[in-house]
């Protein structure tokens, strides 16, 4: 029973016209040229944004037309978008860490050395009671 429905679905496969493939291919080449051109212009941090946006457009074109996502059932699009969504969750939440380390508190990573200043300010060891607290 399952097999018969699968054959059915296959027979509905859409065949896209040749000109569309050529147009998409052309668009990909043009976008590649744009990527290269933009890389010579200094936009600061925006360079990477532009490059990623263009790459995403190219990837979407390939997935939609060369890989037939546009003609297929919506469920396949949902599956792919889900994968991308979870990838973006992973990257963005990780960047909240890697991009923002030491933001709220200034981290003082001085190595502890006996000659360090704050050691000299401490009361002498024998004036500490058993719990380690100073009497003062």
């Amino acid at each position: 029973m399952i097999e018969s429905t699968m054959i059915n679905r296959n027979s509905h496969h859409h065949i896209a016209p040749l000109w569309l493939y050529l147009a998409i291919g052309g668009a990909l080449l043009v976008l590649t040229a744009v990527t290269i051109t933009v890389s010579y212009i200094d936009l600061g941090g925006w360079n990477i944004v532009v490059a990623l946006v263009i790459a995403s457009i190219k990837g979407s074109l390939v997935a939609m037309f060369f890989m037939h996502l546009y003609y297929d059932k919506k469920i396949y699009t949902i599956v792919i978008v889900m994968g991308l969504l979870f990838l973006s969750i992973f990257i963005s939440l990780t960047m909240f860490d890697t991009g923002r380390r030491g933001d709220i508190y200034e981290i003082k990573s001085e190595p502890i050395k006996p000659e360090a200043d704050f050691y000299k300010e401490l009361p002498p060891a024998d004036s500490l009671d058993q719990t380690g607290h100073s009497e003062h």
Binding site: F86, F90, L93, D97, R101, D103, I104
Partner: protein, 534 residues
Amino acid sequence: MSSMPEKNYLTEKRGLKSWLLTLDHKRIGVMYLIGISISFALGGIFALLIRLELLNPGRDIVGAQTYNQLFTLHGAVMIFLFIIPGIPAALGNFVLPLMLGAKDVAFPRLNLASWYIYVFGALLAVVSIFTGSVDTGWTFYTPYSTQTSGAVVTMTLAAFILGFSSIFTGLNFIVTIHKLRAPGMTWFKMPLFVWSLYATAIIQVLATPVLGITLVLLILERVLGMGIFDPAMGGDPVLFQHFFWFYSHPAVYIMILPAMGIISELISTFSHKRIFGYRAIAFSSFGIAFISFLVWGHHMFTSGQSELASMIFSFLTFFVAIPSGIKVFNWLATLYKGSISLDTPMLYALSFLFLFAIGGLTGMFLATTATDIHLHDTYFVVAHFHYVMFGGTVIAFLGGLHFWWPKIWGRMYNENWAKISALLVFVGFNVTFISQFIMGIKGMPRRYYTYLDQYHRMHGFSTIGSWIMGLGFFIMVVYLVHSIYKGRPAGSNPWGSLTMEWETTSPPPTENFAGDMKLTHGPYDYDKIVPRTD
């Protein structure tokens, strides 16, 4: 008294070959059951050895290096070989098609392949024990894991391969649930165990590849010296933890979600009452599955992760309590005014409610960044984790095992011994791990080989608890194996349950049901029909 059906999946074909080449989901489920039982025994022996070593400070039976390997192996074997495949691949494999009224899973060959991959991964893990073993802990944290002389590559490769087994099972279940439900079984007439397996399968398919990527990156750095996690080469060791926990936190839900599904079945069946809040329980599985992807940073509050990230992860982690609470309160509401029978599976279900509540609530202590600074890497974490994973998943697994055991083998185990064993496991578990909560609050660090005198008594309690649990499991093995040969025939529906797997004989025939199945009543219609018991 009922008798055994003459022709069933166990007897229809005989010989080792008929098992090793079988495509029958029930036989594959049984083969998984054997695999995970051996793994559980192995991991359990490691646990008993760890506890024995910790009976006194200093050396008791093994040296420090061996001790490090023991706790690593205990963790790795229990996680990757037992608890992840445990409920879905063993019990789920057996029960899912039966619950749907189907003749098999959607892809029987893929199912068998996943078992062989599991066995291959397991053998590789065993090989690693004999080729130097791993001493990194099951988390394989860098930079230690890239520098230690242990067999890190072999063990991580094993975990990598086991991941594929898990993905195959998940894929198979998703398609099976979509395509093979009996006529009349709409989404909201599916048993809740099926819902939980579906949510689990989504996590298996989405998260497991990230574990694969993580372990490959680790191997690349270790073998080829690529600078991914080593700061000296421009890498970031905390990045490893991000990668690792992006899989391993959702993996905790791969372990607990199917357990919750079993509890829904048990509570409704043994209260002889319609489950309270069916849709809420079903959807909360997806709530948990989704939130599970947003909280991994709570393992990293003290790793040097940015404070901003810690605050976000702490905030998000508390949301897990909502769907978990929804489930627990719905189970309690199901119990309320039910006519409860205290058979062994129900004893496990009730144990689950207590232990999971403790495990879940102590998780809130750890999700709070301020208290976590004190509690991280202490026995408090170990105890919390075991309350969720053992008190939650393993207890539910045992409940499910005792529930479906008569369906799997067609025979009943000795109910009295089963109750004694359940009691010993429950008491032993609490003795072992409540003492670890106390030690942890007092500052006893996890994974240490020795300790100060002030922890001596608590470690003693904990070790004695492990012996009580060990005794409980020993009794269980004896009466379960005995029942396969000598138990009294169970009949098709010994518990009076309404889900579809009880409508066929025990053990079921190879094709599961005598004819084509059609849904005639919902899985929890106890208010409408009195189930036939025989």
